[in-house]
């Protein structure tokens, strides 16, 4: 059976005065039904743009999906008309955005924002929608849901707003939820609450999820598979265990080494990745990580390494992946 979501060779570019920015440059991955896939990378690596591309939310004309296919349940999303796409957005595929402060409309009540999706996609009557909204708020652990419906976003804390965002995403029993940095703006104790909630919900309802994050720690517990992105490309993919225990790309290795960890003995000095991330409008024909890489050779400047299978689903885009030390 085909996967729920199949992305192949997706390329998204932005046309700016300083040249073409290749934000997403040929990424391919699948998401199976009920699976949680993490996309990890630093700011500007294209992880959010790749998610927006799936929902066709990349702002045109500045940005455009220029190549590849995105198949959702066998249907090519890029070929759909705008009206057909609207039927999928928020219905079969829902999104949870990063900033709970800015992604809710400040002048509408929580109730109105929740019921809007229900009446729009499911043709519910006002009363039905309200009843369902109360149920959803209860589901995501919000106390006194009836009272909350009449409140505005500024009445709620950051954690509560993120719960409302998740309730909204769950409205139409989606098959896939895309969560873009769902906990980045939250405190650690609240982050733990939200992550646990999302895990339980995906398990209970069999929803597939794509979690986009820059925090490797966050996804270790929750992701079945992890894609590591750098400069618009997936440079390593594998199960969580592959990525964290036997990383095969120097960038993944460096990312893991540069964060201090509370479960390991204190080290005298951190081992950071040297240099800065590259300018995505000025990439050349070699590996984009080359200038910061300890293992770079002449070969890395001549051609761009492709994802090479290591074992099972584990693959890395590095010419020297066999020579990396194990961590």
């Amino acid at each position: 059976m085909a996967a729920l979501l199949e992305i192949e060779g997706l390329r998204t570019q932005f046309f700016t005065s300083s040249g073409i920015v290749k934000a997403v440059d040929g990424i391919t991955y699948d998401v199976e039904a009920g699976e949680t896939v993490a996309v990890v990378g630093e700011s500007g690596c294209g992880k959010s743009v790749s998610a927006l591309s799936i929902l066709r939310l990349v702002a045109e004309p500045a940005g455009k999906v220029v190549g590849g296919t995105i198949k959702f349940q066998g249907q090519d999303l890029l070929a759909l008309s705008d009206i057909e796409m609207r039927k999928i957005r928020g219905n079969d595929i829902a999104m949870v955005f990063q900033e709970p402060m800015t992604s809710l409309n400040p002048v509408l009540t929580i109730g109105l924002q929740l019921t809007e999706t229900l009446t729009h996609h499911l043709n519910m009557s006002g009363e039905e929608a309200t009843a369902r909204a109360v149920e959803l708020l209860g589901l995501v652990g919000i106390s006194e849901p009836e009272r909350r419906l009449a409140q505005y976003p500024h009445h709620l804390s950051g954690g509560m707003r993120q719960r409302v965002m998740i309730a909204m995403a769950l409205c139409c029993d989606p098959k896939l939820i895309i969560a873009d940095e769902p906990t980045t703006a939250l405190d650690v104790t609240i982050q733990a609450q939200i992550l646990e909630l999302m895990k339980n919900l995906t398990r209970d309802f069999g929803v597939a999820m794509i979690i986009i994050t820059h925090n490797l720690g966050v996804v270790a517990r929750y992701a079945d598979r992890v894609n590591v992105m750098y400069a618009g490309k997936i440079i390593e993919t594998g199960t969580a265990k592959d990525i964290y225990h036997t990383p095969k790309h120097p960038y993944t290795l460096a990312l893991l080494k540069s964060v201090p960890r509370i479960d390991q003995p204190r080290v005298a000095k951190l081992d950071p990745v040297q240099g800065q991330p590259p300018d995505l409008s000025k990439l050349d024909g070699g590996c984009a990580f080359r200038p910061r890489c300890r293992y770079a050779t002449d070969k890395c400047a001549q051609s761009i390494p492709e994802l090479e299978k290591i074992d099972g689903v584990h693959a890395a885009a590095c010419f020297r992946h066999n020579e990396l030390e194990e961590v």
């Binding site: 804390s157 104790t189 733990a192 609450q193 270790a220 517990r221 951190l270």
Partner: protein
């Protein structure tokens, strides 16, 4: 007062900072013409600690716990409601204007957001040179430029950056400029307010290493404010945990992480995700329930008791005092 000595190291050490019963209440007012106070936001509600020279104290807690306000009071960017801050033996709330100027040279700050803490219309060279100009340390322009170049290279930036504007630089580079500016006046004490939180992990490690190198080179004392426990553990010698304006636990770094005693500290440590799927799967997550209450109307007694697992009825009565349970390990919880 016993609490005064809290958190303090042994007396013979060279104390650079001593904070006693610091309170910072922000009034909430109502009325358009005639403003009257209706309530207080108790951002910091009676905390005491001291720091010795060359030490890095981590101040950790979640948003709204008062850690930033504490830093701002020490910098005298906020005038505290009550309590004493003694820096190098001088009570800073009674300083004369000229002494205050002296004080401001010795105490500097590195802010969280490298995007909003640099003036977008000033060149990097002017941003770093301005403190020296204001305090009349180096009045000669060419001499000052030389010092700016020196500071830039000290912070790992090429001296050519002095002709650029902030928008031409990346986040990590801007934060290095923030560090260079803080160093411009040869300070003794730097408040690092979430100094690495806004940076990407690979860049964050670079700035952490820079801060460590500078500390060793100039014998700097850092008050390192952060919500990130793993960074705190890496960088600090001693850690103070704050919750809703109160200090709930203070201990040496290793002691705090190996043997946390306050239920809030435990909850905080439990919530930190670890980048290891096997370890995470075997880890039992005890997730603390509820949200942080409002500092306008904090719970009575121990402020943590509504969310606490081991709370007993007495917890809602009296505010627990920090008690030294082991040498150097102070906990504000009688049940711990």
């Amino acid at each position: 007062m016993s609490v005064v000595e809290t958190a303090g190291a042994e007396t013979p050490v060279d104390k650079i900072l001593e904070v006693t019963d610091l309170r910072m209440y922000f009034p909430i007012t109502e009325g358009i013409m005639i403003q009257r106070k209706v309530a207080d936001v108790k951002a910091v509600d009676g905390i005491s600690f001291s720091m010795s020279r060359g030490e890095t104290l981590g101040l950790v807690g979640e948003s709204g716990c008062g850690k930033t306000t504490t830093g701002r009071c020490i910098l005298q960017l906020e005038k505290q409601t009550s309590g004493d801050i003694v820096f190098n033996g001088q009570n800073i709330s009674t300083l004369s204007r000229s002494d205050m100027l002296q004080f401001r040279q010795k105490v500097q700050v590195i802010f969280q957001d490298p995007y909003s803490s640099l003036n977008p219309r000033m060149k990097i060279g002017d941003i770093i040179g301005e403190p020296m100009k204001v305090h009349k340390i180096i009045e000669d322009k060419t001499e000052r430029d030389r010092r700016v170049a020196e500071l830039l290279s000290l912070c790992g930036l090429s001296p050519q950056f002095s002709d650029r504007y902030p928008h031409e630089m990346s986040g990590g580079q801007r934060q290095r400029v923030g560090v260079a500016r803080a160093l411009a006046l040869n300070p003794e004490f730097i408040v690092c307010d979430e100094a690495v939180s806004a940076l990407d992990v690979s860049i964050q490690a670079q700035v952490i290493n820079l801060l460590e190198d500078l500390r060793d080179e100039f014998n700097l004392t850092y008050l390192f404010i952060s919500h990130d426990l793993s960074v705190i553990r890496h960088l600090c010698q001693r850690v103070a945990v704050m919750y809703l304006g109160h200090m709930v636990e203070v201990a040496d770094c290793d002691e705090l992480f190996e043997n946390p005693m306050h239920p809030y500290t435990k909850a905080l440590l439990d919530a930190v995700p670890i980048a290891d799927p096997v370890l995470e799967a075997s880890r039992e997550h005890k997730i603390v329930k509820g949200e942080i209450p409002s500092p306008i109307n904090p719970p009575s007694g121990c402020v943590f008791h509504p969310r606490c697992e081991i709370a007993v009825p007495a917890c809602s009565q009296a505010i627990p005092k920090l008690v030294e349970v082991k040498p150097g390990h102070w906990v504000a919880c009688p049940e711990a």
